[in-house]
Symmetry: C2
Subunit: 91 residues, 2 copies
């Protein structure tokens, strides 16, 4: 078993309105940052897990996103996988 | 003026407890994903802005993070800048 670190970006689909992002854009504009054209807000997760290989880790992470971490109806996600240096003990 | 797209990852500092992440880890474990060792939750922002050059865009984004988007006391952020294809009109 190897240990993998992953970064998951969960964002609203482009077709879904993002009122939080719009508010942030207005706030930035009021603060003098008028050059900001758009802000979209999402979630960022760092998940550390052990798996036999990279493909298994990727599959597990996609499952977790579909079942719990993201809402596939309105959100989309991107998983980036990094093998961490230390190999975990077989258990 | 060029148009830049940026991705901002805002995460809790390593020394700060993340109860939301711990809950997610427990939930995943209950769902059968016992190989998950750790989950950390952060924010993900996509900001589109116009600036004269990459250095200016980077400076502006760092300022925005320090002033509004992130809480520098407990959070740290990483800004990734992408020059988007279309150059905006000078205005």
């Amino acid at each position: 078993m190897k240990t993998y670190q992953s970064k998951i970006e969960i964002t609203l689909k482009k077709s879904v309105l993002d009122p939080q992002g719009t508010q942030l854009q207005h706030a930035l504009s009021n603060m003098g940052y008028e050059s900001v054209a758009d802000v979209r807000v999402g979630k960022f997760l760092e998940v550390t897990l052990s798996a036999a290989n990279e493909a298994e880790a990727q599959t597990k992470l996609n499952e977790m996103c579909d079942k719990l971490l993201a809402n596939p109806v309105i959100e989309e996600y991107k998983v980036e996988l990094i093998e961490s240096g230390a190999a975990a003990n077989v258990s």
